[in-house]
């Protein structure tokens, strides 16, 4: 296991509204708190907070254009998390294979 555990990513994604925000950004490529709030059952202020959490977890990045901040998904962090989950799954596969071999050895 060489990749650091990304608990902050899981925590950021655990909220369904934040997941929607991320999903909308992934679909559209870019969005502002205002345009995102138009498609979500929450206020613009709430969207700003969610974007802050996603930003701190490294899942989105914002760039200032004039008076607005446009956000986009940063796929690297999601890829890292997916890799991390795959590594954990591989570790379990290896353990279960070892257990199976042990169990199927001639019994005593």
């Amino acid at each position: 296991m060489s990749i650091a555990a990304p608990p902050e990513v899981f925590a950021a994604l655990a909220d369904p509204t934040r997941w929607r925000v991320l999903d909308l950004l992934a679909t559209r490529g870019e969005g502002t708190a205002t345009t995102l709030a138009a498609d979500l059952p929450v206020s613009r202020v709430a969207v700003v907070k969610h974007l802050g959490v996603l930003d701190r977890a490294g899942l989105v990045a914002g760039r200032r254009v004039g008076r607005e901040v446009r956000y986009a998904v940063r796929p690297e962090r999601l890829d890292e998390t997916a890799d991390w989950m795959r590594q954990l799954a591989s570790a379990w596969d290896a353990r279960l294979a070892a257990l199976k071999a042990l169990a199927e050895e001639a019994e005593d």
Binding site: F10, A11, A14, A26, G29, L99, E107
Partner: protein
Amino acid sequence: MEDQIARDVVIAAPVERVWDLVTTAEHLGTWFGDDGADVDLRPGGALVLRWKEHSTVHGRVETVEPYSRFSFHWLTGGCDTPTADEPADGTSTLVEFTLAPEGDGTRLTVVESGFSTLALSPAAREERFASHTGGWAFELGELADHGARVAA
């Protein structure tokens, strides 16, 4: 991908033997850890797994249903930052083994869950459980790919 990992394996041995291998220190210290283990096999009991190269991981037994279910919390920290502290809810993941007879053998399923609570403060966890907002299931990789495509 969900906030859990589920794997299973069919083993050509009876559930009694598999249960023995999964729950006794003698065996856990070989196929799971590689440098011994301690298990106090009762709910709340202490679990210790040792690795020659990694150090030691502490856990706490949660469920013991002979020949069918064994679970424990442990401090994986992603397997690369084991710590000697006592695991607490929300700072550890839950590992659950389920055994079921299948033909002449046993199907062993392992589910490790709770990754999404690893980084939450106690207050945040309470709020989250109170509002029943957990239980997401999605494909991280798919979204990442999608994000990459759109960003390209």
